[in-house]
Amino acid sequence: MIEKAMRALVIVPAWNEDRDLPAVLEELRRVAPEWDVCVVDDGSADRTAAVAREGGATVLRLPMNLGIGGAVQTGYLWARDHGYEIAAQIDGDGQHDPRYLADALQPIAAGTADLVIGSRHLGAGGFRSSAVRRAGARYLSWFLRLRCGARVTDPTSGFRVAGRRAIELFAANYPSDYPEPEAVALAARRGLRLQEIPVAMRERQHGTSSIGPARTLYYLIKVSLALVLLPAERRHKPEIAG
């Protein structure tokens, strides 16, 4: 459980999610009542913002669609500016079970990790993606380890919990092209401590996955390129930036 002193925020990026969002917010209220909730409405054309407000969430309403990277970063900016010590991100389509927030919080509250990632590939069961995409995930995690020493089994997972250092980093600097794997790389390079916990994900209720089987390969090539071309910077020792 969260100690009283720790302020925690859940960031829910949402783009045209007014069908699934009420259930997500209701579940958050029920399962994780200690967490503040902030929905980032990424330029939706539907009632996402209104639904989020009715659900009791703070709404960060972007004037245009920035894509998942820009939306999530808006949440981290809010978390940083309002002094949250912990910020989680979960998808607005109900794929992620907020019950795992408590597990993901433990390493950060204990001070042993800066960024916790919920992984589908650590045996928690639940909805499994296709074999092609699992192979893709294995390749990406191998590549991430090669490129920057990050050890993660599910680099595209959008279920993450960030501690203070990760919040600072992501608020100032969040990748926009292929944000999930790139953010892992960024965090690893800055010397943040990463940890994974097993989570089970649910099949989304509406809509289809944004990446089909044929596109997976193209996606992997683009992500690999993005990871090869990570922004140049001086090597950082693991220290807390002022």
Partner: protein
């Protein structure tokens, strides 16, 4: 200054086109549709090509200097290189502008949320948001 490389009518047409282009760029700057900074490259390159049109001998000398046999090929090669660099610099400016726009959009979202919080606080005083 007639030259075997460039017949006079063609030379006149080229110069007229370039002068018109030069004038257009100046017009754009004067009516604030192009910044002075961004116009410099265009004015400079147009002036340079105008010089070549007036004195085709210069182009021959240039081609010899970079060891290209046909002067017009030297011109084409340099022009393509110049245009490529120009497009790249445009893309850089565009990337820059889009990341700034992104940052501004985020700031808008944050400010709007702050405003909403303040408003609801004012409507129900005593109950902290």
């Amino acid at each position: 200054m007639t030259h075997p490389l460039l017949p006079v009518p063609l030379q006149i047409a080229a110069c007229a086109t370039l002068v018109a282009f030069f004038g257009w760029v100046l017009y754009l700057v004067r009516f604030h549709r192009l910044s002075v900074r961004d116009s410099l490259l265009w004015l400079l390159s147009t002036g340079l090509v105008l010089l070549f049109a007036l004195f085709p001998g210069l182009l021959q000398a240039l081609a010899r200097a970079i060891a290209v046999q046909v002067p017009s090929n030297a011109l084409f090669a340099l022009a393509i290189l110049y245009l490529t660099l120009n497009v790249l610099s445009l893309m850089i400016a565009l990337s820059n502008a889009s990341s700034r726009t992104r940052r501004l959009a985020q700031e808008c979202a944050l400010l709007r949320a702050e405003l909403n919080e303040l408003r609801s606080e004012m409507r129900s005083p005593g109950r902290p948001a």
